[in-house]
Every structure is written in structure tokens, then in C-alpha cells.
Amino acid sequence: MSTPDISWMGIFFMILLLVIPIVLDYWLRLKLAKDIIISVVRMLVQLSLMGLFLEYLIQWDSLALNITWFFVMVFAASHSAIQRNKLSFRRFWKPIMGAMVIAVAFAVLYFNALIINAKDLFSARFFVVISGMILGNSMKGIIIVLDKFYTNISKEKHRYFYRLSMGASRFEALRPWIQQSIRASLQPIIATTATMGLVSIPGMMTGQMLGGSSPMLAIKYQMAIVLVIFVAMIISVVLALFFSIWVVINRNGNF
């Protein structure tokens, strides 16, 4: 069984689908047409480039190139996490990138070496593709944890200063905000994990089954991916928060 190709005709019909949102937009005066078109065009261009790129990456399968690409992806994800939170790039890039490199590298190598037992841990097909998948989720977690942490603590400055005044160490004084923000960053993934397979078929599984895998095999991969993504996420959330505290807050607890 192999995946049927999508012909140019098929692509035409795919893009034709956009008529529906555009008509609805016009009819309801949602003023979303511009945003819809921009986001769809971006998606098409980005995915085309990525497809082209992966095609070559998998064909050449060079260790140096795969690892370089890994760092490029981590850098892009860190940059995006910093921008979304409007944080200072100079202060936050090291903690965020450091956290992602450690968490994602650990997760993808663990997956390749121990779960699927890949012959080449750094082969593009597994290393690049899987780390990309893990990275997106880690980035979401980091965005939430840093946002909650720094926003909540500035809302509760009096309480924070009071704790410091008691002689609390930096980490003792920060404990409530560390707990709150880590909890908030993990809640979404915990919730979606619990309903997985109940409502929707996860994207990766869909892709694999369309590609001809048996449902059971697709499900085994899906389970492994969910766990690896979750573990990478918690590691990157915790590390990004702690690294950022080390860099941003001095030993007296001042920002």
C-alpha cells in the first residue's frame, strides 16, 4: 500500500477551498480576508520550502548538515518564544536556547536510540523530523512558563519583597511563582493527552496511516511521540525558567 500522489489538479482543488472562507468573510463582513490569505500563503510557502529542504536533507543525509539544521530550528524557536513574550533578546536567548538544546537533544536521541532503535541516531529522517516535532511543543511551553512567571511576579511585588525580607534565598522567595507558572505551562498538554484518541485522530498518526502504515504501528509511534514530546516539554520548561532566573535575577532577588 502506498500513498496516492496529489496531482496538480488536486492542488488546484485544494486552493479552491479558500473560496468558502472568502465568501463567508464577504457575506458576514468579518474583515478577515486579508489575514486569511496572508496566513494561507505563508503556510504554503513555508511548507513548500520545508518540503524542498527536507527532500535534500534526507537525500544527502549529512551528519554536519543535520546537526546544523537542528541548531537553526532551535534558534528560530527561541527567537519566536522571546518575541511572543516581548522579552529582552540579549538577556533571554541563552537560557531559552540552552534549555531547548538540552531538552530536545535528550528527547530525540532517547527516542531514536531506545524506542525505535534507529541504526543512525542522526539520520535526517528521524533526527531532523522528530526534533522539529518536539521543538514546537517545547517552545509553546516555554512561552507560557516565562509569561506567567514574570507577569505574576510583577503583579505580586509586595509579596515577593516580603518573602525576600525574611531572608529567603532567591529560589525560596520565588517558589510560589515557579510552581504556578510550571503548572500553567503543562496543563494544556496534560489535558490534550488525556483526550487523545477520544475525539480526534492525532496529526502524526493520520499522516502515517495515509502513508500506508497499519493503525497499530501508527499508534505505537503516536504513543512514543506523545510521551517524548511531554518529557521534552517539562524538561525545557523547567530548565528555561531556572536558567532565566539565574541570568535575570541577581542573588539578592532583584531584577
Binding site: Y162, L164, G167, A168
Partner: protein
């Protein structure tokens, strides 16, 4: 421990808070800081506690210019009551347990018994410990902060308007308690006249 301000200058944006402020507080002194609202009394405590820094001039602790180590040291010797008492969410008892679990406070092994004795002294009932902190009245929060400050067994008290939300009888109880604490250094910000009657109290006026 002596605390000295030497030609301290501090501003927030365009507003000058301290212009060449100098004074010295020796161990065991009792100082009442006076001045209308907005003259920088709270800011002064924040500077002492190292939550903020001077723009120029110096703060010296035991004759040495402040540095991170000295600030850490000082914070283990002071009991601070902030003007705004904000201890967090949850049951009072849990909040106290957590604050007392800081490394700096683990030497206080008998605080629970002392707490039980202190509550009635300031007209609080024991069941306040089971209440949500956010549900307490301003006066209850203030008395709780005073009790915590006492429980810490520190040598310097920094009290920022500690009796503002209390009635006269309670103001007198509190000032009476501190008048007997001749072992401690007292730095007080308050408009309440009761504090002026403490033996040996000196005032520093922050107007001008």
C-alpha cells in the same frame, strides 16, 4: 548593627525623593520617621532592605558600603512589616508554615507555641489560622504581620505604618509591646501619636 546613609540621592524619573540625605542608626536605637505621604518613607525602607538602589551617595552597614552579601546578612537580621501586607493566597496556617520553612528561619523551633500565645495578646482568635488570608480585614492582616515579625526573633524591626488600620486600644497594645522591646532596634514609619511616647524615641523628619 549600625545603618548609615551618607549623602544619599534618589529620584524616580523627574521626582527627586532624597537630596543629600544623611543619618546614622546605632544598634538599639528607636527612630520614628515622619513626613507627609509621598515623601519617600517607604522608599527609605526599600533602600535599606536592598530592594532598590541609591542614585548616588552610600548606604553603610556596620561601616561597610552595602554589597549583595551584606544585604543577605541584613535580611536575616530584620523583621519587616510592609505598608501593604500581601502574604499570598490560601489558609493562614499554610502561609505561616511555608514562610517559617525558609532556611533562614529553621532555627525557630518553638514558633507554633509562641504564635498561640501571641494571638490573644493582640485580640485575635485561634481560628484565624484556619481562614483564607484574602478574607481577613486590613487590621487583622496588619496584626498578623506584626505577630510574624515578632516570631522571627530578629534584632531590627522595620515597621512601615504598622498600626494604620487599628483602633486606639490596639495601637496602644502594640506600641506598649514594642516599648518593652529594649533589646531591639526599632525603625518605625507612622503617623500615630502613640509611637511618639516610646522611651528614648528620636524622630527623623523627611520633609524638605
Amino acid at each position: 548593627m549600625t545603618i548609615q546613609f551618607k549623602n544619599v540621592f534618589k529620584r524616580y524619573d523627574k521626582k527627586i525623593i532624597f537630596d543629600d540625605l544623611s543619618f546614622q542608626i546605632r544598634a538599639g536605637a528607636r527612630i520614628l520617621f515622619l513626613g507627609p505621604s509621598g515623601t519617600g518613607k517607604t522608599t527609605l525602607f526599600q533602600l535599606i532592605l536592598g530592594f532598590d538602589t541609591v542614585d548616588s551617595g552610600e548606604i553603610l552597614i556596620d561601616g561597610e558600603p552595602v554589597n549583595p552579601l551584606l544585604i543577605n546578612d541584613l535580611r536575616k537580621k530584620v523583621a519587616y512589616i510592609p505598608q501593604i501586607v500581601e502574604l499570598g493566597q490560601g489558609i493562614v496556617k499554610d502561609i505561616l508554615d511555608e514562610l517559617m520553612s525558609f532556611q533562614a528561619n529553621t532555627r525557630l523551633t518553638h514558633w507554633q507555641e509562641k504564635l498561640t500565645a501571641l494571638l490573644p495578646k493582640f485580640n485575635l482568635e485561634a481560628h484565624i489560622l484556619e481562614q483564607q488570608f484574602s478574607m481577613l480585614s486590613g487590621g487583622e492582616k496588619q496584626r498578623l504581620a506584626i505577630i510574624i515579625a515578632i516570631l522571627l526573633e530578629r534584632e531590627i524591626f522595620l515597621l512601615d505604618e504598622p498600626t494604620a488600620a487599628l483602633d486606639t486600644a490596639l495601637k496602644q497594645k502594640i506600641t506598649h509591646y514594642f516599648s518593652e522591646r529594649t533589646d531591639a532596634t526599632l525603625l518605625i514609619i507612622s503617623h500615630d501619636v502613640e509611637w511618639r511616647q516610646l522611651d528614648g524615641i528620636k524622630t527623623i523628619n523627611l520633609t524638605q
